[in-house]
């Protein structure tokens, strides 16, 4: 049998999703209307840290249109929120959907009101009278770990949630032999994810059946925990993630509202809807990043890196949400060495509870933090020894002939070829012509800088055994189910749960090539636990293609093989002599002895002439467990101009070369990069969640918190190299987070470079006008 030819894989097939999304005909959770539906409004603590003395709901219950009021003390039936990742020694807080004893951050839900209309629920929620005893709050992670800090969870007697050490190589020798040691404190600020669609949940109970619509990246996990927590048999729980308008990790959770809303629907026997308001979301949906690193890099004067020592404190917020430790441990520590040979590495991360909104994954989830750390240190080192930053990176790259390469942090990089990506990026950016542009800008009174970053990241999460070893409480496989209908069209159910990634298009390209069909002949379905395979892990961590796409590919191969077997039987030829091309199956060398694909499929359902032992029908379910992670890489280059008088930064040029292995749909790859780079520019220049000392969120709305728009980002010059991954049959790696990982350090490096003539060595994000102006002022003194 021959392999299918790639007709659609590798081409920019227009996204099937776009027509309905652009014309506004997609159905999001908040669009779901169920007869008899009532509306929930949560009552949230205004205090960051306060004991709940008493809740008086009488006035709220009497308010017009109110159906029910539920407090934390009455909500024991909702169980506790799950934690999926347990690093050694972790102190897991009990996280009730409605806090009963204490509110641990401003926004912690303490009660919920259900009413006939949303307005009535909102008005009545204001009548719930909660007597709080405010307690001193702690918002800063380092302060939370200091002696005498207010304790968020008294039962632990400390705010230290966990400690994650990693040490390999002889670190003392590395620093002992170093010609140069550079130390830097690096703050990776707290961000608010800001998916364009706020979270929303609708629950309907019909007899023993519970249907839940939710804005989630992981509908199967939501199903699992609704069943466990609420005591509903799993086969009677259906979770639907309809159109989901972005997630970036902020919908990668089992949230309190996803348990409370179905609990209420059961309790009152009517459908219940809750949709977050934007300001509410700023408090109640997980935040991202928030780490402080103390880093030291040891090197020879020729630029050879000898060792890296890192001490990190990671803010966890008031509770540990589902994946909370991941961004500071598994997806962070191990990838800090990045693209470089690093003989010795000593890292320790501590996670701290604070009176702030819980932290969890945000696009990149630990990898942008790692890339920022190592790439800032490489630039600091380059500056210290007077070497070109590109040259320093080149000298320390893992060489192309070293793959598969085992890093000091014990990862096995599947493949890589870092220099061509660097060279191509420098070429795109006209790196060698920069000095002239800088001089020209100087004549205009502008400081021009160029910065680059070479990154390696981890995708394809995850081999299930690796998950188990790392403390992740579930396998990292993905499922796919394919059904070829009697008339030859195809339906595919994927365990992934896209919310902007275009799986309907990419998956159909993979299937179409295998079966000689057009992508439009393939319907891709997702986000509904009723019809999917038993378990889908979901969409996060740039895993969907390298795990879920491969599951689809394998499932398609199974039906392809069966079709070939039947064709061989019908054409009275050996299986090895059957050629499957262009939608036809024929005998090698005798193209007139052929059957159309649809004809063979029809015979499988007619079942009148099947070989002995062949079952009728044409379906397959596959659970694909990857054999290794994949490791995309690339180099980004950014050029900025600064108006030193007021500190304003303009990105004047941006070039990037990313290698995500084989590309299924290059347009979608570029789209992922555009969005990711824009988000990175947001972190580098604009975004920061600011709390006051009492734990009040000051940057609590889009009037204060700037999410970049098209007006804030330049045109991107994108290039690619293709180093296929050897760990999966399509050679794919993943691209969803490369933008934030590559671009965040790149933009910072460019700004610091622009300011370096003034003696500036480092600045922390966001690089706001005032921060830059102050640096310029200080340099002038």
């Amino acid at each position: 049998m021959t392999v299918a030819t790639a007709t659609y894989v590798g081409t920019s097939v227009p996204r099937k999703e776009d027509r309905r999304l652009i014309t506004g005909t997609g159905t999001y959770t908040d669009d779901v209307v169920v007869t008899g539906m009532v509306h929930a409004q949560f009552v949230r603590s205004p205090h960051a840290h306060a004991r709940i003395i008493r809740i008086d709901t009488a006035a709220a219950k009497r308010a017009p249109g109110v159906v029910a009021v539920l407090t934390g003390a009455e909500a024991a039936g909702t169980g506790t929120l799950p934690l999926f990742v347990k690093v050694p020694g972790i102190k897991q807080s009990k996280h009730f959907p409605l806090a009963a004893d204490k509110a641990r951050y401003a926004g912690d839900a303490v009660a919920v009101v259900v009413a006939e209309s949303r307005a009535a629920a909102k008005a009545a929620a204001a009548l719930v009278d909660v007597a709080y005893e405010p307690l001193p709050a702690v918002v800063d992670a380092e302060q939370a770990l200091a002696e005498g800090a207010p304790v968020v969870h008294e039962e632990f007697g400390t705010n230290l949630a966990w400690t994650y050490p990693f040490k390999a190589g002889d670190i003392d020798k590395a620093f002992g032999e170093a010609d140069v040691v550079v130390r830097q404190r690096i703050v990776n600020q707290r961000l608010i994810p800001n998916a364009i669609e706020p979270r929303s949940v609708v629950a309907k109970v019909d007899g023993g059946d519970l249907t839940l619509w939710s804005t989630t990246q992981i509908p199967h996990f939501v199903q699992l925990f609704v069943a466990i927590n609420l005591g509903v048999p799993q086969n009677r729980v259906r979770v639907i993630a309809p159109e989901v308008g972005g997630g970036f990790g902020s919908k990668l959770n089992v949230y309190a509202e996803e348990l409370v809303v179905p609990f209420l629907a059961k309790m009152i026997g009517r459908p219940v809807k809750w949709t977050e308001e934007r300001r509410e979301g700023y408090l109640a949906t997980t935040h991202g990043r928030d780490m402080v690193h103390e880093a030291e890099i040891a090197a020879k004067r020729d630029g050879t890196v000898l060792g890296l020592r890192v001490r990190t404190v990671a803010n966890m917020g008031g509770y540990l949400q589902a994946f909370a430790p991941v961004s500071a441990t598994i997806l962070h520590v191990f990838i800090i060495p990045g693209a470089y040979r690093l003989p010795a590495f000593d890292c320790e991360v501590r996670g701290a509870y604070t009176n702030t909104t819980p932290i969890d994954a945000y696009r990149g989830a630990g990898r942008p933090e790692a890339a920022l750390l190592i790439e800032r240190m490489m630039d600091r080192l380059a500056d210290e020894i007077g070497m070109d930053p590109a040259e320093l990176r080149r000298r320390n790259f893992v060489p192309a002939d070293a793959f598969p390469y085992t890093t000091v942090s014990t990862l096995v990089y599947d493949s890589g070829n870092y220099e061509p990506a660097l060279d191509r990026a420098l070429e795109l950016a006209d790196y060698s012509g920069f000095a002239a542009r800088r001089d020209e800008a100087k004549r205009r009174g502008r400081l021009r800088g160029i910065g680059l970053a070479s990154y390696v990241e981890i995708c394809g999460l995850a081999p299930s055994k690796a998950n188990a070893a790392l403390g992740v409480g579930w396998g990292g496989y993905e499922s796919a189910r394919i059904r070829v209908n009697p008339l030859g069209t195809v339906q595919v159910w994927t365990g992934t749960s896209p919310h902007g990634q275009g799986h309907e298009t990419s998956w159909s390209q993979i299937v179409a090539d295998q079966l000689g069909l057009r992508p439009d002949d393939v319907q891709v379905l997702h986000g509904d636990t009723l019809e999917s395979p038993g378990m889908g892990v979901g969409t996060f961590g740039s895993r969907s293609l390298a795990v879920g796409g491969i599951a689809v590919h394998k499932a398609t191969q199974r039906v392809r093989e069966k079709v070939i077997q039947l064709a061989a039987h019908l054409l009275e030829a050996s299986v090895d002599d059957i050629v499957f091309e262009g939608g036809k199956l024929f005998v090698k060398g005798v193209p007139e002895r052929s059957k159309a694909f649809a004809e063979v499929v029809f015979q499988l359902y007619l079942a009148a002439n099947l070989p002995d032992g062949m079952e009728p029908g044409l379906e397959a379910i596959v659970y694909h467990d990857p054999e290794n992670f994949t490791y995309p890489f690339g180099t980004h280059v950014c050029e900025v101009e600064i108006d030193p008088e007021v500190g304003a930064v303009e990105i004047v040029r941006y070039s990037a070369v990313d290698d995500c292995g084989v590309q299924i749909n290059p347009m979608i790859v570029e789209g992922q990069l555009h969005g990711g780079i824009a988000q990175a520019i947001g972190q580098a220049l604009f975004e920061v969640a600011v709390y006051d000392a009492n734990g009040q969120l000051l940057s609590g709305s889009m009037m204060d918190y700037h999410v970049p728009t098209a007006a804030d980002v330049p045109t991107f010059d994108l290039g690619h190299t293709v180093t296929p991954s050897p760990v999966n049959p399509l050679g794919v790696k993943g691209i969803g987070e490369a933008g934030t990982i590559g671009a965040t350090p790149t933009v910072v490096n460019a700004v610091v470079d622009a300011l370096s003539p003034l003696g500036v060595k480092h600045l922390d994000m966001p690089l706001t006008a005032e921060r830059i102006w102050r640096a310029v002022q200080q340099a002038g003194r």
């Binding site: 909102k122 007021v646 304003a648 999410v707 006008a769 005032e770």
Partner: protein, 288 residues
């Protein structure tokens, strides 16, 4: 979502609106709705009655007579930004109108709504001050004319009494050898002015500065005229040194606001920089 119900009146004449307002002291007057509606959505304003001016055609548009230019309170920002007459004779105002929010805001938000709301960071108030505009306020006792400098009292506070409606803005375009400009450091998230400076200058025949007015918004609790800077520039040659010296005094006497985007120290600095930039362009325009 606006959680609290309210009555909505949509009169078609100003007299009708004034009468309605007199009858309902708790009412709020609605123009383009770009300040009041967001406040209502957040529950920060909960008026029982809205008097919606949108259908009062007489309050919309830009007219000219010998006395000058009259801009109806309901004129949208974009109409001012696009108006050829404003662009040539009142450039600083047209630029301030063009700097408001984004196109959607400018297509609905009005100059009257913006001035009456008196957000300390809105753009047009700087230009209205720099052009010494006169505001016509209409109430049950009739109308009164008030200079812009007396209109702004504090954050979200103006000379309007609860029963008055701002009807129009009157400006006398400066004559020959005049120029103006608006320069703004915008809040990256909200688009409001962290600092906005409108400068209007008129030169004497010999080229010295005869009149200069500098309106500053965003920097303090109320928009203000940078009197010390004006004084420093008037009668000078308006050369680079004179501009720099004058601009350096633009923040004199000001109590600067401080927020997440700009500390008071940075704001004071920005006022001097943007005053210089506005004056430079205004003088260039005056010499053309």
């Amino acid at each position: 979502m606006i959680a609290v119900p309210f009555d909505h009146h949509a009169p078609t004449t100003l007299a009708e609106a004034v009468a309605l307002l007199a009858r309902s002291p708790d009412a709020k007057v609605l123009a383009g709705g770009h300040s009041l509606i967001p406040l209502m959505k957040l529950g920060l304003a909960q008026p029982a009655t809205l008097i919606d001016l949108w259908r009062i055609a007489a309050l919309r548009g830009i007219t000219r007579d010998r006395g000058g230019v009259t801009i109806g309170a309901l004129t949208i920002h974009q109409a001012i930004a696009d108006d050829e007459g404003c662009r040539s004779a009142l450039g600083g105002l047209a630029e301030a109108a063009a700097a408001v929010g984004d196109l959607q805001v400018r297509a609905r938000g009005t100059i009257g709504g913006s001035l009456a709301h008196a957000d300390p960071a809105s753009d047009e108030q700087a230009a209205v001050l720099a052009f010494d505009a006169t505001l016509r306020l209409v109430g049950p006792q009739g109308e009164r004319l008030i200079p812009a400098r007396e209109f702004f009292r504090g954050p979200f506070d103006t000379a309007l009494t609860p029963s008055e409606i701002l009807a129009e803005v009157r400006l006398a375009p400066p004559g020959a050898r005049s120029g103006s400009a608006y320069e703004k450091f915008a809040h990256p998230a909200s688009g409001f002015a962290v600092v906005g400076v409108a400068a209007a200058v008129t030169l004497a025949e010999d080229g010295t500065v005869e009149r200069v007015a500098i309106g500053v918004t965003g920097a303090a609790e109320s928009p203000f005229r940078a009197a010390a800077a004006e004084k420093a520039l008037v009668d000078s040659k308006g050369d680079a040194a004179a501009i720099a010296a004058a601009a350096g005094k633009a923040a004199d006497g000001m109590t600067a606001l401080s927020d997440l985007v700009a500390s008071s120290e940075f704001r004071r600095h920005l006022v001097t920089v943007y005053a210089r930039r506005a004056l430079e362009r205004a003088l260039t325009a005056a010499r053309m």
